[in-house]
């Protein structure tokens, strides 16, 4: 669907250093997929997404979308393509001169949709994003989150083929976020919409994305299936993001902390990789071996492909038994890290 080759964008500056916001980026995004892009602030995420619909002219590289070379389109074709691409902006970019209703109707006007049809569509969208009763308000009379919802409705108005979301939910509370994400997943399924989600909230990625790319310094430093990336984060940046959704345990109470607290036994980090068979592991260990297991901290969650997560447990007992238990764990697909108490 979208294939990006050697894409780069350099902001030139006379008196300051040039900024390479996007640096030789390669990526391919499948049709109908929800693709996440995460990265630290300033990593180049917004720049990247703006290059996709050529709001920013690339310094170099190639973007092929739906078999069309975006970088070489003439104005007319570019406009046509853009009508098929919805975009949610980080800073809303609403027209202050238009009401909520008219802001959402805006892309429909541009696409030349008839008035009646427009009205129905807009009302539907207003309901969808939970702004009923606010139709005739102006953006200046809305809260931050309400503005963002107008922006979301507007991006969806045209039934786009591709939806670019730049921090679409970062101004929203969890309930609204969930509603919006559900909505995105829904239209993704129903209409086969391709969605590119830029966010710094990993749980958004977790909740709706199939694949994710991690950006750092304008480069994609890691990408793959969301579950893979969650389970085996290679880069430090990625690990940091994964922690976010798994709770910030490692941060707050790293394994050393537990180790210090226990005079005997071992602290284990068990990493479950999404197979139901393993759910009974602890029970089995306690039964089979003469050990005691305390659950210290952890997070087990379920994705589409099964449960996964990490548990820190303290295993105490006779040294040999512990050894056997560890040996047993190694035979399952559960990943294990052992930390002796110092």
């Amino acid at each position: 669907m979208i294939s990006i080759k050697n894409l780069s964008k350099i902001y030139k500056s006379k008196d300051k250093m040039d900024v390479t916001a996007v640096d030789n980026l390669n990526l391919s995004i499948n049709k109908g997929e929800i693709f996440g892009v995460i990265g630290y602030s300033g990593a180049g995420k917004s720049t990247f997404i703006r290059l996709l619909n050529r709001l920013e002219e690339p310094t170099g590289g190639e973007i092929v979308m739906d078999n069309k070379d975006m970088t070489s389109l003439n104005n007319q074709s570019l406009r046509n393509e853009r009508q098929k691409i919805g975009m949610i902006f980080q800073h809303f970019n609403l027209l202050w001169s238009r009401t909520v209703f008219d802001n959402i109707a805006f892309p429909l006007e541009i696409a030349g949709v008839a008035k009646d049809e427009r009205k129905d569509k807009v009302n539907e969208l207003i309901q969808l994003v939970g702004l009923t009763g606010r139709e005739n308000y102006y953006p200046s009379q809305l809260s931050g989150g309400q503005k963002q919802r107008v922006g979301i409705a507007r991006a969806l108005a045209n039934d786009p083929k591709v939806l670019l979301c730049d921090e679409a939910t970062s101004a929203l509370d969890p309930q609204t976020t969930d509603d919006i994400l559900d909505l995105l997943v829904n239209i993704n399924r129903k209409l086969g919409l391709t969605i590119i989600v830029i966010t710094h909230e990993m749980h958004v990625i977790k909740k709706i994305c199939q694949r994710v790319a991690v950006m750092d310094n304008g480069k994609v430093i890691e990408q793959g299936e969301v579950l893979d990336v969650f389970m085996h984060p290679k880069e430090k940046t990625t690990r940091r993001f994964v922690q976010q959704v798994m709770g910030d345990q490692e941060e707050q109470s790293p394994i050393h902390y537990f180790v210090k607290n226990y005079q005997s036994g071992k602290v284990l980090r068990l990493h479950f990789v999404g197979e139901t068979a393993n759910q009974a592991l602890i029970s089995k260990l306690v039964k089979t071996f003469n050990v005691e297991i305390n659950i210290l901290q952890g997070n087990i969650t379920q994705t589409k492909d099964g449960a996964y997560g990490t548990l820190y447990v303290h295993m105490d007992g006779n040294k040999e038994e512990i050894q056997n238990a560890i040996h047993y764990i190694h035979q399952t697909s559960v990943e294990l890290e052992v930390e002796d108490h110092a």
């Binding site: 709001l55 009508q83 691409i85 975009m87 970019n93 609403l94 027209l95 001169s97 006007e109 200046s140």
Partner: protein, 221 residues
């Protein structure tokens, strides 16, 4: 009482002159609005990279600057053939209109340009991202989003036009400014000057009030 304060003022003259001023300013404001917005949009839209744009921008800027540079009385003269063709006369209030419009439009064009520059780049970008044509961007983004400044701008221009009408007196266009000059200043009858000025001040206030009201009403920021 009034008779004593304004011994030399002929009410009928004032009425006629006020009418002329209203007529000239009213119509030329309309003309200026249209031509000024067109020119202003040209100035704004062509102000970017690219050779064609550069050339177009230069041409528009030249037109705007040249017409602002020509002294008004000479502009009137230069436009005589055009005025004659368009209005069928080169005397009186009607004949003043082309010169008034062509004199004020380039000026308003600059104000339009300033107003357009203040429009948030983000919303223009949003429209572009939706595949908006230039036409859409103009009529659905640039003009509505700069409307308060456009209205304040035409208010300023309208009031400027009132002063211009005084100069249009040279071709018998009349108006309050001309009356003040001819029957007041020349005859050294300052009660006439004063009466005319009061009327002009009132007209200015009316214009300003309408402009302020509209501009405030439309501003939803």
């Amino acid at each position: 009482m009034l008779r004593e304060l304004f011994p030399n003022v002929v009410i009928e003259d004032l009425k006629v002159a006020a009418n002329e001023t209203f007529y000239m300013t009213g119509i030329s404001v309309l003309g200026t609005l249209i031509i000024g917005i067109l020119l202003g949009l040209m100035l704004f839209l062509t102000d970017r990279q690219g050779k064609t744009y550069k050339i177009l921008n230069f041409i528009t800027a030249t037109i705007v600057n040249v017409f602002r540079a020509i002294p008004f009385i000479i502009l009137i003269l230069l436009l005589f053939p055009f005025t004659d063709w368009l209005m069928g006369t080169i005397r009186g209030p009607k004949a003043a209109l082309p010169a008034l419009i062509i004199g004020a439009a380039p000026f308003y064009a600059r104000l339009v340009e300033i107003a357009l520059k203040e429009v948030d780049k983000g919303v223009v970008e949003a429209a572009r991202a939706m595949g908006a044509k230039t036409r859409h961007i103009i009529f659905k983004v640039l003009l509505p989003e700069s409307m308060p400044a456009l209205i304040s701008g035409i208010t300023v221009t309208a009031i400027n036009l009132i002063s211009y009408t005084a100069m249009a007196g040279a071709i018998g266009a009349g108006g309050l400014g001309d009356l003040a000059y001819r029957k007041g200043f020349q005859a050294w009858d300052f009660d006439v000057v004063f009466a005319c000025t009061i009327l002009i001040v009132i007209i200015v206030f009316i214009f300003q009030f309408i402009g302020d009201f509209l501009s405030k009403k439309i501003d939803k920021r």
